[in-house]
C-alpha cells in the first residue's frame, strides 16, 4: 500500500518557529458535561500533527474549536502567536483555517462541482462560470485520484467518493491550516495513497496540518508529531519519530494493547449446508453478477475498491434497492426476493455504512435508536424498563460513551455513533449478520472488542459477512475473502492466500495475469 511514501517524509520544521495555529488551555463543555479541559496544542507551517484518542476523547470537539465551529469556554486560539476569536467557520476560513468534518456535510441534490464551489462560486460577469468550475473540479479531483464526474449529483456517490469531494472542497483555495477529522475512515487504500500524496505536497507548500485518525499505521507513517487526548485532557504531545503503533495505542487507551484480533476459530466444514446462498445477483448499474455462499459459523469478508459494488450487492439482496437474483436460499429456504422486513424475519441483520443518512435518527435519544427495528413491547405498549435495560447492556457491551444519559444520537462522538449502530443491529438477534465497514472511525481499543464480539458471534453458529476497506481487518478476522471489482466477484481467497497483495491485485486488476 502506501509504503513508498515513508521515505518521502519531509524533515520536521524547526521547532523554534512560531506555531501557525495553537490551542492555549482550551476548555469546552456541553451543558454540564466538560468534554475538554485545559488542552494545549500547536502546529507549525509544514508540520503534520496527528491527534489521537479514544472515541469520545474530544478530538472532534477540539478541532471544531480551532476552526470556528464552536466557541471555547476557557482558553484561547492563537494564530501566529496572536489570540484570535473565530466566531464562525467563515471567519476561520478567511484566516486560512479549514476543517474537513468527520461527518459528511454535502448537499445530496447538488452536483459534485456545485458542492465544491458552494459559497465561493466562480463567475463570469454576473453569471456562474460553469465551464471553469467544472474544469477545476475535475482537475482537483483527479489530483486526488478521484474520478467522479463533476456533474454527478452527490447523493449518488458512494460514501468514499463523497469523502474525497469533501476533502477536495477544503483544498480548493490555498490554506494556511487544514484540519482533517478522520478523513481516511471511509477510504480504501488506493484513495488513502492519493490523499497522502496530496497532504505531502501541502506540507511542502508550508501548510500546517492537523490530522485525526484511528488507523495508527497511517499515523506512524505520515505524522511529524502526535498529540494524545484522553477523557478530554491532554496526555502527551511529542514527535512521531520512534513512536510505534503499540506505543500510541498504549498512550490512548492507558493500558497495554496486546492483540487486535482474536484467534480464528477453525473454518466451518465446507460440507455444512449454507446459511445463505446467492446465485447470480444483479443490481442494475452496480452489480453485474455475484454468486456466493455463506456457511454457518463463518466470517466471510468482502474486499474491493470504492465503487466495486459491495454495498449495493447486499442492499440489493435485502430489498433496499432494486435487484434481481436467480436464486436466493436462506437456511435452506428458497425465497423469491427479500424486503427489509422479510430479511429481518429470515434472521438477516444489516448494518449500513452510512450512519448519518441511513443509520441513526440523530435527533432521537439513544434508546429509541437502539430499539427502532423492533421496539420492546408489553401488552402492545412500549416496555420502557426492558428498553432501559437493553440500553444499559449496549452501553457496557459496546462501550458506548455518551456524555449524558438522555443524550441524542447526534450528540455522540462519531465512533460512539458507530457503536450504537452496531448494538442496534445486534439487538435483532440476527443469524446472518452483514456489516458494512464495521469499525469505521472506531478507536483501537474498542475495535479489538468488536472483533472479539464478531468472532464470538460466529463461534456460536451465526454467519457473518464483513464488508471492509481495511485489508488488515479482512485478513485478521475472516475465514474467507471475496474480492469484487466492477460489480463482479473476481476472486475468492482463503487461508494463507489472504494477503494484502492478493486483495489489491484482484481489486484493481493490475498485474492480475502475472499473479
Amino acid at each position: 500500500m502506501a509504503s513508498g511514501l515513508i521515505g518521502n517524509r519531509t524533515p520536521a520544521p524547526a521547532a523554534q518557529a512560531t506555531p501557525t495555529l495553537a490551542a492555549d488551555a482550551l476548555g469546552k463543555s456541553y451543558g454540564q458535561v466538560q468534554v475538554l479541559s485545559d488542552v494545549s496544542l500547536s502546529v507549525r507551517a509544514g508540520e503534520l500533527c496527528a491527534v489521537l484518542g479514544e472515541n469520545g476523547a474530544g478530538k472532534s470537539t477540539l478541532m471544531k474549536l480551532l476552526s470556528g465551529h464552536l466557541q471555547p469556554d476557557q482558553g484561547s486560539v492563537l494564530l501566529d502567536g496572536q489570540p484570535v476569536r473565530l466566531a464562525n467557520p467563515m471567519q476561520a476560513e478567511q484566516l486560512g483555517i479549514v476543517l474537513v468534518h468527520q461527518e459528511q456535510l454535502l448537499a445530496g441534490e447538488l452536483t459534485v462541482a456545485e458542492n465544491l464551489f458552494l459559497g465561493r462560486e466562480l463567475r463570469r460577469g454576473p453569471f456562474l462560470d460553469r465551464a471553469r468550475m467544472h474544469a477545476l473540479a475535475a482537475e482537483l479531483l483527479a489530483s486526488l485520484g478521484c474520478r467522479v464526474a463533476p456533474d454527478m449529483p452527490v447523493g449518488r456517490l458512494s460514501i468514499a467518493e463523497r469523502q474525497m469531494v469533501q476533502i477536495a472542497r477544503a483544498l480548493l483555495v490555498p490554506r494556511r491550516v487544514v484540519i482533517l477529522d478522520e478523513p481516511t475512515a471511509v477510504l480504501t487504500p488506493h484513495e488513502v495513497d492519493a490523499l497522502f500524496a496530496a497532504l505531502l505536497s501541502l506540507k511542502a507548500a508550508g501548510v500546517a496540518l492537523l490530522y485525526i485518525s484511528h488507523r495508527l499505521a497511517e499515523v506512524a507513517m505520515i505524522a511529524d508529531s502526535v498529540t494524545v487526548l484522553r477523557d478530554g485532557r491532554l496526555v502527551t504531545s511529542r514527535p512521531a519519530a520512534g513512536l510505534g503503533e503499540l506505543e500510541m495505542a498504549r498512550l490512548m487507551v492507558g493500558r497495554d494493547m496486546s492483540t487486535l484480533f482474536p484467534p480464528k476459530a477453525a473454518p466451518p466444514p465446507a460440507s455444512a449446508s449454507p446459511a445463505l446462498q446467492v446465485t447470480r445477483a444483479r443490481v442494475p448499474g452496480q452489480v453485474r453478477e455475484a454468486s456466493f455462499s455463506l456457511r454457518p459459523a463463518e466470517i466471510l469478508g468482502f474486499g474491493g475498491l470504492v465503487g466495486a459494488g459491495r454495498t449495493e450487492l447486499f442492499e440489493g439482496l435485502i430489498g433496499l434497492r432494486p435487484a434481481q437474483v436467480e436464486q436466493l436460499v436462506v437456511h435452506g429456504r428458497t425465497l423469491a426476493h427479500l424486503s427489509p422486513r422479510s430479511a429481518l424475519r429470515a434472521g438477516i441483520g444489516y448494518l449500513t455504512e452510512d450512519r448519518k443518512g441511513r443509520g441513526l435518527l440523530l435527533r432521537q435519544p439513544l434508546a429509541t435508536n437502539l430499539t427502532l427495528v423492533a421496539p420492546f413491547q408489553r401488552f402492545g405498549l412500549l416496555d420502557a424498563a426492558r428498553e432501559l435495560a437493553a440500553m444499559e447492556q449496549a452501553r457496557t457491551g459496546f462501550d458506548i460513551r455518551a456524555g449524558r444519559r438522555d443524550a441524542l444520537a447526534g450528540q455522540l462522538s462519531g465512533g460512539n455513533q458507530q457503536k450504537l449502530m452496531l448494538a442496534k443491529t445486534m439487538l435483532t438477534g440476527p443469524r446472518i449478520l452483514v456489516i458494512d465497514e464495521p469499525t469505521r472511525g472506531i478507536d483501537i481499543g474498542t475495535k479489538a472488542q468488536i472483533y472479539r464480539f464478531i468472532a464470538a458471534l460466529a463461534a456460536a453458529g451465526n454467519a457473518v459477512v464483513v464488508i471492509s476497506s481495511e485489508m488488515q481487518e479482512l485478513i485478521g478476522l475472516c475465514h474467507r475473502v471475496l474480492v469484487m471489482r466492477h460489480g463482479r466477484v473476481v476472486a475468492e481467497l482463503e487461508g494463507d492466500d489472504m494477503t494484502e497483495d492478493a486483495i489489491v491485485v484482484h481489486a484493481t486488476g493490475v498485474g492480475e495475469r502475472a499473479a
Binding site: 443518512g357 435518527l361 427502532l372 421496539p375 405498549l381 412500549l382 449524558r404
Partner: protein, 329 residues
C-alpha cells in the same frame, strides 16, 4: 464517570418548549379577560372549548400525519362528505327505528372517514406522490361529491326526532363537562399513548425524522404512513359525529378551511411541519388558541369587522414568535 451517573439519576424533566402552547393559551385568556370580563364567564368558556372540539379532534389525527412527515389538506371537505353521506344513510334507515339510524350514521362517519383516509394514504404511498398534491386533489373530490349529494343545497337529518336524539352529542354534558370536550380529552389521551408509548407511534416519528433510516431499520414505511392517514380519517369521522348534531345538517361549505386550521393548531402546538415529532396536547392547546382568538375578536370592540382577519393573522404570528423566544431560553 460518576458525573454522568449522578445526572442519570435525576428524574426526566419536562421540556420547556412543550409548555409554550399552553403559555400562549394562558396569555390569550389573560388578554381576553382584560378586553372583556365576560370572556371568563363559564358559558362563554364552555362555548369556546366545545367549538374547538372539531379542530382539536381533527388536529389529533393531523398530528400523526404531520409527525410522519405528511400533510392532509382534505380533512375539511372529507368531513363534509362523510357528514353528508352519514345524514343521507341515517335518514334512509330511519324507517328501521331511530336507534338503527343513529348506529348507521355513526358507522358511516367513522368507517367512511377511515376509508377516505385509506384512499389518501394508498395513493400517497403506493403512487409515491407528494401528500400536498394528493390531498389537494382529494379535497376537490370530496367537496364536489358533497355538493353533488346535496344537489347544491343542504342535507338535514330527518325526521326531527332524529335531530333531537343526536343533539346531546354536541350540546349535552356529563358531570358538567360538555360531551365534545370529554371526547377530545379522551381521544387526546388515547392518541398520546399511541404516539408516545407504542411501537407504532415510535415508527411514525421515525419515518418523519428520517425515512431512509426507518427504511434501513426495516420499518414498514408504506404501512405506517398509510395508517397515519387512516387515523386522520377516523378522527375526521369523530369530528363529524360531533359536528352534525350541532346544526343537524351539512352544506357544501361545511368544514371549509378546517384543513388550514387543523394544521395551524398542530404547528402552534409545537409539532414541526417537517415531521419527526408530534405533540398531542400541544395540538389541543393550539385548537383552543385558534378558537379563543376568534371569540376574543367578537367579544372585544377594538377592531372593525373588516379587519378581524388581519388581527387574527397577526395574533397567531405573534403567538408563534413568543413561543419561539420561549424555546430559545
Amino acid at each position: 464517570m460518576s458525573n454522568a451517573a449522578a445526572r442519570a439519576a435525576r428524574p426526566r424533566r419536562i421540556d420547556p418548549a412543550s409548555l409554550a402552547p399552553f403559555a400562549a393559551l394562558a396569555v390569550l385568556v389573560l388578554v381576553g379577560t382584560l378586553l372583556n370580563a365576560r370572556f371568563l364567564a363559564p358559558d362563554n368558556i364552555a362555548n369556546v372549548v366545545t367549538r374547538a372540539s372539531f379542530i382539536a379532534v381533527i388536529g389529533i389525527g393531523a398530528t400523526f400525519v404531520i409527525a410522519a412527515g405528511g400533510l392532509d389538506l382534505s380533512v375539511g371537505s372529507m368531513s363534509a362528505f362523510i357528514g353528508g353521506s352519514a345524514i343521507l344513510l341515517s335518514n334512509a334507515s330511519a324507517g328501521h327505528g331511530l336507534g338503527t339510524a343513529l348506529a348507521v350514521g355513526g358507522l358511516v362517519a367513522i368507517g367512511g372517514g377511515a376509508l377516505c383516509g385509506l384512499a389518501n394514504g394508498l395513493v400517497i404511498t403506493v403512487g409515491r406522490l407528494e401528500a400536498f398534491i394528493v390531498t389537494l386533489g382529494s379535497m376537490g373530490i370530496f367537496r364536489a361529491l358533497t355538493t353533488y349529494l346535496a344537489q347544491g343545497g343542504s342535507l338535514s337529518l330527518t325526521p326531527d326526532a332524529l335531530q333531537d336524539l343526536v343533539r346531546p352529542v354536541y350540546f349535552g354534558s356529563v358531570l358538567g363537562m360538555p360531551v365534545p370536550v370529554l371526547v377530545f380529552a379522551l381521544l387526546g389521551g388515547v392518541a398520546w399513548v399511541v404516539l408516545n408509548r407504542t411501537p407504532f407511534g415510535r415508527h411514525v416519528v421515525a419515518i418523519g425524522a428520517n425515512e431512509e433510516v426507518a427504511r434501513y431499520s426495516s420499518v414498514a414505511i408504506g404501512r405506517v404512513r398509510t395508517l397515519t392517514y387512516v387515523i386522520q380519517g377516523g378522527c375526521v369521522g369523530i369530528a363529524t359525529i360531533l359536528y352534525v348534531p350541532r346544526l343537524s345538517s351539512v352544506t357544501p361549505t361545511s368544514g371549509l378551511l378546517w384543513e388550514l386550521q387543523a394544521i395551524t393548531a398542530v404547528v402552534i402546538g409545537g409539532t414541526s411541519l417537517r415531521g419527526g415529532n408530534g405533540r398531542i396536547w400541544g395540538t389541543i392547546a393550539g385548537a383552543l388558541v385558534l378558537e379563543s382568538v376568534a371569540n376574543i375578536m367578537v367579544l372585544s370592540n377594538l377592531v372593525s369587522e373588516y379587519l378581524i382577519g388581519a388581527v387574527q393573522g397577526a395574533i397567531i404570528i405573534v403567538a408563534m414568535l413568543v413561543q419561539r423566544s420561549l424555546r430559545r431560553n
